[in-house]
Symmetry: C2
Subunit: 254 residues, 2 copies
């Protein structure tokens, strides 16, 4: 056995979302790899080396981290949210799958974190209180017709839908197209939650409806939750509304 | 404003999965409500009152906690995993929706936690690395045909599927039926992960396939992840295999 590689979920924002397990894993590493803004959230420790890279370089980062671990280092790869949800854990596994045999002998661990949809849901109540799915709207890595097919299937079967990677400069039209697609299946009254930069500076929560959902409200830091026909809104005087999906569903919606 | 109610996710197991935010919220409460085994995970503090209840009494617990907060207490409702995923946050929202107006004036917060599917996924690699859904197999609160329809939709559209509440003494046949249903859509070679009591005493991980998936391997403490046709297994000499779903999917499976 040579080195060690640990892929660590930082949660959506500042240190309050870190688990004790993630804290301990961060402290135990000698070399940290990650997207710069995620690395910036990790307290500086003098004995550690930091290797920041761009967020479009996940495969290269995974390979560099594995190579560093194979040379004997104790490597941490930091990931926003949960590393297993549209993040670095799959990138590292892909690199191992197609890389040298030595990488399979590394001591590898994943440390789960609070993924964005859980943080956004907690801010508004319990919109994920019943069956739900998570779909990335990025068509960089899969064809758009597959995304449409999944939106159709999820909306048609009554899942609440969390949309990751809704929009970027390189992908400006996909979110509008996704909302249009969902409107084929779902009434306009369905609650839609835009959660931006939850737990960080510039945090913003907007409650809209499928009829009024405006793609311009989203950016790369936004996670969107589209309710099901069962999702309800509780108005509260002097406070923001609660949004939740009941545990008990009605036969009528089968 | 009268009292305060905070619904806190403990994560799947011991204190290593607690976030700093959850720690602080647990310390700030004067009255704790929860299912007994979850309360038992919270360190005892002398100034706090504990009110344990059975896990089939979620609605009654939610109402008692809200009433206690309305009388001025600072209440914490503890939940295993994440409170927003098939857990107490929806139960509390339901109680507010049908309860007295005073409950809407309470200062309410949800603190997210590591839900079981993230913990199980982290143990084996990154099976949730691409689009996925979470389905509760409990037909106590929704009709079985709706569950079948969701299994059909999810498998047909290529989602990885996390199965919560797979089996219990009162629901002995549902998991076998769900596997049979999924076999209509998916090849038998698809990886299936059984994660039992992750992060707790008696933790057990089993990697199987859809063809061989044995419902008898599951109990109330088990979370099951059924892969998609894209999910891959990396064999490793002297270590358990890695299971992951690549970020980049092939057009062929549309």
């Amino acid at each position: 056995m040579s080195g060690r590689i640990t892929i660590i979920g930082l949660g959506p924002g500042d240190a309050r979302y870190l688990t004790h397990e993630a804290d301990a894993a961060l402290a135990a590493a000698d070399t940290l790899f990650g997207y710069g803004p995620y690395l910036d959230r990790v307290p500086v420790r003098n004995h550690q080396t930091r290797r920041a890279s761009d967020n479009r370089e996940e495969s290269a980062r995974a390979m560099a981290a594995l190579q560093c671990a194979a040379e004997g280092a104790s490597v941490a790869v930091v990931s926003g949210g949960d590393p297993g949800v549209f993040a670095m854990a799959a990138a590292v596994c892909e690199a191992i799958d197609s890389g040298p045999q030595a990488w399979r002998h590394l001591d590898l661990h994943c440390i789960p974190g609070i993924t964005a949809m859980l943080a956004v849901a907690a801010r508004v109540g319990a919109p994920l209180g019943h069956d739900f799915c998570a779909i990335s709207l990025s068509d960089n890595l899969k064809p758009w017709p597959m995304i449409e097919r999944r939106l159709d299937a999820a909306a048609g079967a009554g899942f609440v839908i969390a949309l990751y990677n809704p929009i970027s400069r390189a992908r400006p039209w996909q979110l509008r197209s996704a909302f249009d697609r969902l409107r084929r299946h779902l009434p306009g009254s369905i609650p839609v939650v835009f959660g931006r930069a939850i737990g960080r500076a510039g945090e913003e929560l907007v409650l809209s409806s499928l009829a009024d959902a405006d793609p311009a409200r989203a950016d790369m830091a936004t996670l969107i939750i589209v309710g099901s026909v069962e999702t309800r809104v509780i108005e509260r005087e002097g406070q923001s509304p609660l949004v939740y999906t009941p545990r008990s569903l009605q036969c009528a919606s089968v």
